[in-house]
């Protein structure tokens, strides 16, 4: 590769530097301002808990996902009275969000006041408040609880439109789709879904919460193409618009990547008990690198799969910081890597 001469690089950098739009000293002045101090105090007041994983961009929580497949219990009949108490299955799920989490990472939702906040057809949404703002919520779709998610006050402030689309596998073109969430934009009154086929469904907000069941004629569309979610005010003006990804099976991971799953149990989510998965076909060795730098060789099977039981004294190694799986080919070159972290670390990461 031909590398650039220092003189040329410096010249370009000087030209770009001259176009710096920031006034000299303004950032230092800002850092000493009341606004900067307020941010510091606000962050320090934030409990040591994290937002749930974000799926993409401003679309904050197209979550639940496999949670519906994992949710084993069913909820008997939803009490279609807004503000009514959550059924036992929902309160159990809301209580379980902190199971296995260290104290610093717990959401501590007010489960005793969990309540019905939105209803549409056979779908209901329940919510429990978090201290200082935020909430934990759970959608119940056709009598099945979809798994709870939690959103902190800080995340709500940053992402005032929350969207969740639970689904169970396998997903077919006729699988029902429910969209639910919460909007904290002050003037918002309703949420409107517009599908790729031109169809529209809408729901009014009740205390900021909403649930929409995609109507039957449009199920094929939402399973095949992205659709939009608009938040509107009383005059019908758009306040915010997001794109919701099509509800379809996840594509298989690319063949040149490591497909890895961590093994944990709910007794302690700071631990990683083991790791299993597959490596690219060209991989001849696999190493698990711990956050402290030590390496553990992982045995590869002829079908390119692997399974590693992590020794008991190392199971908490990923509690806070991630490790790394490193696959090499016969020449010793790294061909793929994959981060490994505990469930607690994933919660703490928050993004």
């Amino acid at each position: 590769m031909t590398m650039e001469s220092p003189v040329g690089g410096e010249t370009i950098d000087s030209l770009v530097g001259a176009a710096d739009p920031l006034e000299p000293g303004s950032a230092v002045s800002w850092a000493a301002s009341p606004a900067a101090e307020a941010i510091l105090r606000r962050v320090l007041a934030e409990p040591l808990i994290a937002a749930r994983p974000r799926v993409s961009g401003a679309l904050v929580a197209v979550g639940f996902a496999a949670a519906l497949a994992l949710a084993s219990g069913t909820v008997v009949a939803a009490v279609h009275l807004l503000g009514g108490p959550a059924p036992p299955q929902v309160t159990r799920d809301l209580s379980a969000v902190d199971q296995g989490m260290p104290g610093d990472l717990r959401y501590n939702p007010d489960v005793s006041h969990a309540r019905l906040v939105a209803v549409a057809g056979t779908s209901s949404m329940y919510a429990a408040d978090l201290a200082g703002g935020g909430y934990c919520g759970e959608l119940v779709v056709q009598g099945r609880a979809a798994g709870a998610i939690c959103v902190t006050a800080l995340s709500l402030a940053a992402h005032p439109v929350q969207v969740s689309v639970p689904f169970s596998e396998p997903i077919t073109p006729r699988s029902p789709v429910t969209v639910g969430g919460r909007v904290t934009l002050p003037a918002a009154t309703a949420v409107v879904l517009r599908y790729a086929d031109g169809g529209i469904d809408r729901a009014s907000l009740t205390s900021g919460y909403y649930v929409i069941e995609v109507t039957a004629p449009h199920l094929g569309s939402v399973h095949a193409a992205d659709f939009s979610l608009r938040v509107v005010d009383a005059a019908g003006s758009t306040l915010e618009e997001l794109t919701v990804p099509a509800v379809m099976e996840e594509a298989p991971p690319p063949s040149n990547s490591i497909d890895a799953t961590t093994i944990s149990d709910s007794s302690d989510f700071t631990k990683v008990l083991g790791v299993d998965g597959h490596v690219p076909a060209s991989a001849t060795s696999l190493v698990l690198r711990f956050p402290d730098g030590r390496d553990l060789q992982v045995r590869l099977q002829p079908d390119h799969s692997f399974h590693l039981d992590i020794p008991a004294d190392l199971q908490r190694a990923f509690a806070v910081r991630p490790g790394l799986l490193v696959a090499r080919d016969a020449a010793g070159d790294i061909i793929a890597t994959q981060a490994i972290e505990s469930v607690a670390a994933a919660r703490a990461a928050g993004m």
Binding site: I12, G17, L44, A58, M351
Partner: protein, 192 residues
């Protein structure tokens, strides 16, 4: 490593975090403000340090590249839906504000040309050259902020400079012949 014993740890964490914030908030704000409007820049600072607060054990020394890398992701989430020309208009608007370089110097056309040339770069190339020329990071720190290897960053920076030189042809040639840039750089933030 302890995850419980909250009172003692909270006090230690708070002190450490406050030191981090006071030492680095200006650099993070400068990074965000160069790429966004003032209100969004403050939101980016808040979100960035919220992440740092939750992941304090993971914040390395020096912290600024890590913080700028986090700010980059926060900002990307916020501006993803915006159009490129809107970003350009924001920058040009910033240049027209009182006391900005464009008003202080007669060479605003050159500045506008540079901004337009920057806007025509790919996002990665633009970020590479801005991290170096605006945020004042060296290669290793800029690579950490950009979330890539140093080699990859060098390639991006090389391509960015090459594309800029191609677009700015006359300006670049003018300074290559020994004339200084039309306006003086107005840097802020870390110089490592």
């Amino acid at each position: 490593m302890r995850l419980t014993g909250r009172t003692t740890i909270d006090a230690e964490r708070s002190e450490r975090f406050e030191r981090l914030y006071r030492a680095s908030a200006a650099a993070v704000y400068a990074y965000a403000r160069r790429r966004a409007a003032p209100d969004m820049a403050e939101d980016v600072v808040a979100d960035t340090f919220a992440v740092a607060w939750r992941r304090l054990e993971s914040v390395p020394e020096p912290p600024v590249p890590w913080l700028l890398g986090t700010a980059r992701r926060v900002l990307a989430n916020r501006v993803r839906s915006e159009q490129r020309h809107e970003r350009l208009l924001r920058r040009l608007h910033a240049l027209e504000s009182p006391g900005s370089p464009s008003e202080a110097e007669p060479a605003s056309v050159s500045v506008a040309m540079v901004l337009e040339a920057l806007d025509r770069l790919s996002a990665r190339e633009r970020e590479a050259v801005m991290l170096v020329a605006w945020d004042g990071l060296d290669g290793a720190a800029a690579a950490a902020a950009a979330g890539c290897t140093r080699t990859a960053f060098s390639v991006r920076l090389h391509r960015a400079r090459r594309h800029l030189r191609k677009q700015l042809g006359p300006s670049a040639q003018m300074t290559d012949q020994g004339r200084p840039p039309a306006v003086s750089p107005a840097h802020e933030g870390p110089r490592t």
